[in-house]
């Protein structure tokens, strides 16, 4: 469903991605782990064109990610941001119907009914008429997920969705993501939640210095890493968690 072939990305003279190959199958949950600055977020942002890759090819459902393909890509792929990025001047409900109504011209009544259902799914229907500033981080992120789902995406990109949350709010967001995974949504998740990755991900890819150093079944990579760099990283992260 999502394919990267020899993707490179440079910021100035710093090369952030150095020829990345990656495949995400339909219905698959793939977690990208790795240290900060390893390029995992950049990889995600190249897939929906928030960053333009310099070399190589990215396709989503057979459509190439380039200027011509972007509108189609952004219909198929939604994104959930680390800092939620809800529109602060619009209510929760209006955030969710923003793209259906103002990008895809769905009738407002229909979009609203759908949005209420989506908000109920993330347990936020009671806050439909609140402004984002009145919500906790965990609540905002759940609205962010509802807003992504409103696009009826074929895949969702999660860019460190729980990194900006208070520890006690992480669980409620991971619960929603786990439900999505069980329903068969294709998910590409940049995360530091190793426990979540082990439990929910079909596959884990360890990103280091702009390349995928190791990838495989979540259990294998996370419990018996083959690459020394993966082992070091996991020891560091798990030690911090424990």
């Amino acid at each position: 469903m999502i394919t990267l072939r020899g993707v490179t990305k440079r910021f100035g003279d710093r090369t952030v991605l150095k020829g990345v190959d990656l495949d995400v199958a339909k219905g698959e949950v793939l977690c990208l782990i790795g240290g900060s600055g390893s390029g995992k977020s950049t990889m995600l942002r190249c897939i929906n064109g928030l960053e333009r890759h310099d070399e190589g090819e990215i396709t989503v459902g057979g459509v190439r990610v380039d200027a011509a393909g972007l509108p189609a890509i952004r219909r198929r792929v939604a994104m959930v941001f680390q800092r939620f990025n809800l529109f602060p001047h619009r209510t929760v409900l209006d955030n969710v119907i923003e793209a259906p109504v103002h990008v895809h011209h769905e009738p407002p009544d229909q979009a609203r009914a759908r949005a209420i259902d989506l908000l109920a799914r993330v347990d936020m229907a009671d806050h439909a008429h609140s402004l984002p500033s009145a919500l906790s981080g965990g609540q905002q992120q759940r609205v962010g997920i509802a807003r992504a789902l409103a696009l009826r995406p074929e895949a969702i990109l999660f860019d460190e969705p729980t990194s900006a949350l208070d520890p006690e709010r992480v669980g409620e967001v991971l619960r929603v993501m786990r439900e999505l995974a069980e329903e068969g949504m294709t998910m590409l998740i940049v995360t530091h939640e190793i426990g979540f990755a082990r439990e929910v991900a079909d596959r884990v890819a360890f990103v280091d210095q702009g390349v995928i150093a190791e990838q495989g079944a979540a259990r294998d990579v996370l419990t018996a890493p083959q690459a020394a760099r993966t082992a070091q990283f996991l020891a560091r992260v798990l030690h911090k968690d424990g």
Binding site: A78, F87, P88, H89, H104
Partner: protein
Amino acid sequence: MIGFVNDAQAFLPVLLRGLLVTLELTVCALTLSLALGVVWVVMGRARFAPWRWVSRTVITVVRGIPIIVQLFFIYFVLPDWGLDLPPFLAGVIGLGLAYSVYQAENIRGGIGAVDKGLIEAGEALGMNRMTLWRRVVLPLGLRHALPSIGNTMVMLLKDTSIASTITIAELTREGQLLAISTFKNGSVYALIALLYLAASLPLSGLVRTLERKGRLA
């Protein structure tokens, strides 16, 4: 003092009529200045280079010419070219155009303060440039710009007095006419000053309120 009270009673009806025109002029010129200000900013960011060039040129030229000269040009020179505008309309266009370059600066500042993440969120939702501007950049940018737009509005209120020079019967001109015919310069100009002050105080209060609200947004 008793003399001033008597003068005030005699002059206020005329001056209040002038104040009303001043307020009308302020509101109309403000609206035009904001609309044009948005146009200069949007053109200044266009991909098509000539639009950017037009925006830069207009801002440079308009900012470099005194407002009174712009008003004279619109009111006294344009008729020579066949465009004969009534004084009030000429005043609105002149002040609106002159102030649009300051509003453009305010709006540009406000837009610069819009969180980049929100623009990315709009892009990720599939918005094209036009939708992004209409739904995200402008509404949020204007919100950030409200305090400085409010300040500019107070300046505009006072600068409408320049329109007295093209025969618009606003506060300053009504006052001048009274002063010339009664020789009571002291009373008349004191009253004018008080009326401008009275009109600008609520605006200044509004600016403070907007600044408070702006912090919440």
